[in-house]
């Protein structure tokens, strides 16, 4: 993990003091609601339906055990005993009091954490994939550059009042698990033929009202120029992005209006002025930051652990969990474990209680090197677990409700907080997720279905990334009541695709039946082990529509 030095620490503490003063001035009536709004947003504080919500950054999803315990203590002392992990590697506390927020931020600062720029029209939390540094298919650990970007974008005075929010993600593995095509800037880090680090830069991706995949603006950018190149993009955007209509203010609209070639020319021109200046990164700085991410001291492990092998053979539930929730590690004898936050109706996707957080912190120390990751699928990861420890860890995870063997399956639902909390929502998402999870509670059946992602957003802002779910559900408002639009065929990763709407929307009560019919159609058409999304791509939407919108829904089950 990156360790704060005196500069990093001074910044977060000064920021707390600054915000404490701003809260006081607001409470005293010296700051108007309008003047206070962007100040609190840039400190992660939203006003939701029932209360203030505080969004805390977990930069590039990496968290230490001590930090996790602090989050647990905040959930306990200032909230109702739980927190919600989001699709952007943040955690949200839904029930905080304005007057206590400075104290919460103080507690975070003490463990090198903050809520700076987790909201507002500025550069947001820099994200990457949850398996950074340990994935077997990784090229380069993207976190040093992510941290460098985090620092550079934090309170960067020129870019705090952009036309709209600005999200940057970086990834460097054969599989794109950071959804870089879905970001305002997506960075893909790789090595060229001479082993030099280079960046492929994508721009203008994003979900929301106008979902668009990012377009490539630069290939082969030497890593030293990362900051100046991003600065050039931001300056062009800050000057020319639309400010008259917030739905047309994201950079994707500017890129679309100018065309990627013209936009790239503008950026290139701007970049020529600054590229060889002091913003050029140095090897020394890279090394300083990279030191924090040096691999832990892995102990050589026997290739095959006898106990582990026995448990695998003897315990079917364990084997099933291993098949879904355990990921290959780059070091032999180790694995990465995904703890599912989607046990079914028992808890909303992404929610963790304080007790669970404390347990995860303990496990991370006991079974690993004290590190935890947050995945944008809202699950938690213990990155470095010895294979011999998988069985005892699984037992503990099950006791804590974090051992559901459903990673990547239909019930591993990604859902935003929706109408239960969010002031912008058209419809609730959590009850929809729970209704689907209740309908599909047979793990054998789910495992037979295989990879199938389902994403739910409570409104067009798409925090649940519904466009890129194999099945996407979007809450819409029809004459003041809650309806749901369904899309099929979305995908994330290198083969990113946006889902297509299947037809008129449904009431909440209809959704479990609709999902069941979609799944049944898939079963009827799939060839061998063809994944859901491939079947949709091959047969198109028609067969699904026919079944879902048939007058008299036929009863059918998947014969497998």
């Amino acid at each position: 993990m990156y360790h704060y030095d005196e500069y990093d620490r001074a910044l977060v503490f000064e920021r707390v003091a600054q915000f404490r003063d701003q809260v006081q001035r607001f409470t005293a009536g010296e700051l108007s609601e309008e003047e206070f709004l962007p100040l609190r947003l840039q400190n992660g504080l939203y006003l939701q339906k029932h209360a203030y919500m505080l969004r805390v950054a977990i930069p590039y999803g990496t968290l230490g055990a001590r930090q996790m315990r602090t989050l647990a203590s905040i959930a306990r002392d200032y909230d109702r005993g739980y927190g919600h992990f989001t699709t952007r590697q943040n955690i949200q506390f839904n029930w905080v009091e304005l007057a206590q927020v400075p104290d919460i931020l103080q507690r975070l600062a003490e463990v090198d954490m903050h809520a700076i720029q987790t909201s507002g029209n500025c550069v947001r939390n820099i994200t990457t994939e949850a398996f950074a540094g340990v994935a077997a298919d990784e090229i380069i650990d993207p976190r040093p550059l992510a941290e460098i970007l985090r620092q550079w974008s934090t309170i960067n005075p020129e870019f705090l009042f952009l036309p709209r929010k600005f999200k940057i993600a970086i990834c460097s593995a054969r599989q794109d698990r950071a959804a870089i095509m879905m970001h305002d800037i997506g960075l893909y880090l790789y090595r060229d033929g001479r082993q030099q680090m280079r960046l492929r830069v994508m721009v203008g991706g994003g979900l929301g009202r106008t979902p668009i995949l990012g377009l490539q603006i630069r290939e082969g950018l030497p890593w030293e120029h990362l900051l100046s190149y991003v600065e050039a993009i931001l300056r062009v955007y800050n000057r020319h992005g639309r400010r008259d209509n917030k739905y047309k203010a994201r950079i994707k609209i500017l890129v679309k209006a100018l065309g990627i070639e013209a936009f790239a020319r503008e950026v290139e021109q701007e970049w020529q002025h600054i590229k060889d200046g002091p913003a050029q990164l140095t090897e020394a700085e890279f090394q300083r930051v990279a030191e924090g991410f040096a691999p832990p001291r892995y102990a050589a492990q026997p290739d095959g652990d006898l106990d582990y092998g026995t448990h695998l053979a003897m315990d079917r539930s364990f084997a099933r969990w291993v098949s879904r929730n355990v990921q290959p590690h780059k070091v032999a004898g180790y694995a990465s474990v995904v703890l599912s936050t989607k046990p079914g109706p028992a808890a909303p996707p992404g929610d963790l209680t304080a007790e669970q957080m404390d347990n995860v912190a303990d496990w991370s120390e006991h079974f690993g090197f004290g590190e935890i990751r947050i995945a944008h699928e809202q699950n938690l990861i213990l990155p470095d677990v010895r294979k011999a420890d998988l069985y005892p860890l699984w037992r503990l995870a099950c006791e804590q409700g974090l051992g559901t063997a459903n990673i990547g399956l239909l019930t591993d639902i990604i859902a935003c907080p929706g109408g239960d909390f969010c002031a912008l929502a058209n419809a609730k998402s959590i009850p929809i997720a729970q209704a689907i999870q209740s309908r599909f509670d047979d793990l054998d059946y789910l495992h037979d279905l295989g990879e199938l992602s389902l994403n739910i957003s409570g409104c067009i802002n798409a925090c649940g990334h519904h466009h890129i779910g194999n099945i996407g559900i979007l809450g819409v408002d029809k004459n003041g009541s809650e309806w749901y639009q369904v899309t099929l065929g979305g995908a994330q990763g290198k083969a990113s695709a946006l889902g297509k709407v299947i037809g008129p929307s449904f009431s909440a009560a209809e959704i479990p039946r609709v999902i069941e019919q979609i799944v049944a159609t898939y079963c009827a058409y799939r060839e061998l082990d063809e994944p859901f999304v491939d079947t949709v791509a091959r047969v198109g939407l028609e067969p699904f529509k026919e079944r879902v919108y048939a007058r008299q829904p036929e009863v059918s089950t998947c014969a497998m």
Partner: protein, 160 residues
């Protein structure tokens, strides 16, 4: 103008009796005294006597020719949430080499002053309903700047 804060020889101070007058579109004929005029009005009769009032849509690059004669440039913040003025200031200072007074006008508030200062503003006409003395407290900002700015062109990693 009233409510002006200026940085002179590195010292921030409240300005008593600032003689500049900000002039909008309507008023004609021009009153006497030193005026700050919208770009097209200034261009209609360029002079080293009147300052320039730059709107967020105005192109800073077009000023290149006049930088030698202009006595002052004011950049307008129609709303404090409109951040274009920061980039205009950056470009004027670093790209076009403007050395004269650069004043922030419009929705200029205490909590943004330090960002404006970082981007090269050296005077600030604080919104009239606010206290300039109070706003002065916002000028200092934080002690750490990670990136770079007009007044600190080296990013922190070159100063660490």
């Amino acid at each position: 103008m009233r409510n002006v804060i200026a940085i002179r020889q590195g010292q921030a101070q409240l300005v008593e009796g600032d003689s500049w007058q900000l002039l909008g579109e309507q008023e004609a004929p021009l009153p006497t005294g030193a005026l700050i005029l919208p770009l097209h009005r200034w261009l209609a009769q360029p002079s080293g006597y009147h300052g320039l009032w730059l709107g967020p849509d105005d192109d800073v690059e077009s000023l290149q020719l006049w930088l030698g004669v202009l006595p002052l440039i004011a950049i307008d913040f129609p709303s404090f949430r409109d951040g274009r003025g920061y980039s205009q200031a950056y470009l004027l200072r670093t790209r076009l080499g403007w050395q004269g007074e650069l004043r922030a006008v419009g929705d200029v508030l205490r909590d943004q002053l330090s960002h404006m200062r970082q981007c090269g503003f050296d005077s600030f006409a604080v919104r009239e309903d606010k206290s300039a003395a109070d706003a002065l407290k916002g000028l200092q900002g934080m002690s750490v700047l990670y990136g770079r700015s007009v007044i600190e062109p080296r990013p922190l990693f070159r100063r660490r």
